[in-house]
Assembly symmetry: C2
Homo-oligomer: 353 residues x 2
């Protein structure tokens, strides 16, 4: 069913950090590179897929979010805009107006997938119908569904997915949760991977906290078919990670990340900052994704330009302290070399081989 | 420094589930059995340690909580008692009176440790002074400090602990957190183990979600010196786990656990039940451990007697679905056999050995 690339490492799709160059570099090195396409218009997404194909003949992955179109209560939007006013003033931005659109169209992105037939496609924030899964498979794509609980993994298996991306508690970025509240859907990488592997007959790509070779070796011991790794690529030369985001990663202290819905309206893990702390008491009132995400977009762009981390989405997983800079190909091959060394050494040390 | 037993598996100390028999059985089988002594009076604790020594000449561990004596606000106690009134009525219990003591004395338990010199001692909920650590070491005990964050691990290393028990997010039972709020101290087992192993030169015993041989192999790949395993022993013949607790474990559905402070006043992970759900909206108002723990004691005893899970502390980790019944010795040797098989198989499959 699921044909792994030569190295069982999937570069996690990271909106704002993983574009064409990173995906192509990881795939060329033998891993599975990923395009984070959720924020792209259909034509830009199409061009990006074609650019990866032009750069490598190896398999790659394209990820989008499964989203209904947003129709927020205008009063909720007004109070969200008011809540952001002092932060916009800090950056000299004019009063926020209602954006022309809240998010890119899932339907249009899905049609690009059907047309362009990427070797692997993955989905987050929701689930496809069996008909949608089969349409992708009929065109030659392998379909990967993101699950944060065993119940979500069962749901993806039931619609015929080829593999599950098991997103553990440690993972950076947005939680893919779609069945229950996020508060009821937080399972550590060890337990989530083992629960799915033990309960379902479907390949598992495990994500969350895997940032070095030891993590890769561990996740394969848990029975995963591959490790999905985001944070370890944030400092890659080819990543789109902004200078201020890279600086926050390099200077992160002990235990630096938190889950927040302040920035986008959907829980995501990032390095704690002033905005996340300030919003914590009112977090429940913030409008759901993609509304808050759209409302903070200009603000985040201004802060990035000013090299100021205070209001930014500094997404990163709990093992962020282990991320290292370098070429994506070297990061990939070093991760795999270290993982194999550890597997050999542990078999000798503990299992008498 | 840290001398591992012949099998790198520590049976986690579990108040209410792990007594003399379980500890002795695990140690005899080659693992490290643990006595959960926090709930014992000093004389009972002394007898229990002597009983383990009489049952095995192998090393074992004794765990207690580092607790200040409680002096709760009487108004807080009164409202906590009022909150529990309908639940006591359900079991026909008379109105709650203020208990004679809130918890056993840490100072007396610590003196028993000094006198009885268990080979391994571990501590949760707080940290010892350097003088206390050295006093235990001078008498021949190895000192293990429980940490839920990298910062807590640093603190234990700084007072001279021999090893860190890294308690990941997945772990069942009480969170050992002592530096910051629990909400800021939740780190998945993969990230917590790697962060500590990579940052500090001290052996790490990793806990959280490790309930089968694959989990043990994974945790050793992460560089841990041993795996601490609680939930996998809850169904052991020698465990003190009540019939109703065993039933809840055997019948647990997908993703069944939650963190709660409703039962004891300190966050702990257990199988969700009616009381945990009912208390969720008022959880922040519940008096801190050990006050709430003492106030729910009679109620829990009555529910256990009635075989009713509604108000019980059904502590269990996130991999509870993998727990199996059997003799503790068989559980221990099977875990280790499976872990070694996986290490050998993965070295062959992935690393060409």
């Amino acid at each position: 069913m699921f044909t792994a690339p030569s190295i069982p490492i999937v570069q996690g799709p990271m909106l704002g950090a993983s574009g064409v160059e990173l995906a192509a570099a990881v795939s060329r090195a033998g891993g599975l590179g990923s395009l984070a396409a959720a924020g792209l218009t259909a034509p830009v997404m199409r061009d990006a897929i074609r650019a990866i194909r032009a750069a490598t003949d190896k398999p790659f992955l394209v990820n989008i979010f499964v989203l209904e179109s947003a129709s927020p209560d205008p009063a909720v939007v007004t109070s969200a805009i008011e809540r952001l006013r002092p932060w916009r003033e800090r950056y000299g931005l004019p009063p926020q107006t209602t954006p022309a659109k809240w998010a890119e169209s899932f339907a249009e992105q899905f049609d690009v997938m059907l047309d362009e037939r990427p070797p692997f496609v993955s989905f987050t924030f929701g689930i496809l119908s069996r008909a949608q899964v089969e349409a992708l498979q009929a065109r030659g794509s392998r379909v990967i569904g993101t699950a944060t609980t065993l119940a979500e993994a069962r749901a993806w298996a039931a619609v015929g997915a080829d593999a599950i991306c098991a997103q553990g508690f440690e993972a950076g970025g947005h939680r893919g949760t779609f069945l229950k509240d996020v508060s009821e859907s937080l399972v550590g990488t060890v337990s989530l991977t083992r629960s799915i592997v033990a309960s379902l007959d479907i390949p598992v790509i495990a994500a969350g906290g895997i940032t070095d070779g030891a993590g890769v070796a561990a996740i394969l011991a848990l029975g995963a078919a591959a490790a999905q790794i985001g944070t370890a690529y944030l400092l890659a030369d080819e990543a789109l990670t902004s200078a201020v985001w890279r600086k926050a990663i390099s200077e992160a202290g002990d235990d630096p990340t938190r889950l927040t819905r302040a920035i986008s309206g959907r829980y995501a893990r990032g390095i704690d900052n002033e905005f996340m702390r300030a919003m914590r008491p009112v977090e429940a009132d913030i409008p759901a994704y993609p509304v808050q995400n759209a409302l903070t977009q200009e603000l985040r762009a201004a802060a990035t330009k000013a090299n100021s981390p205070d209001v930014l989405s500094l997404w990163a997983g709990q093992s962020v302290g282990l991320a290292r800079a370098g070429k994506a190909a070297d990061i990939t091959t070093n991760l795999w070399r270290d993982a194999r060394d550890i597997m050999r050494a542990n078999a000798r040390r503990w299992a008498g081989d």
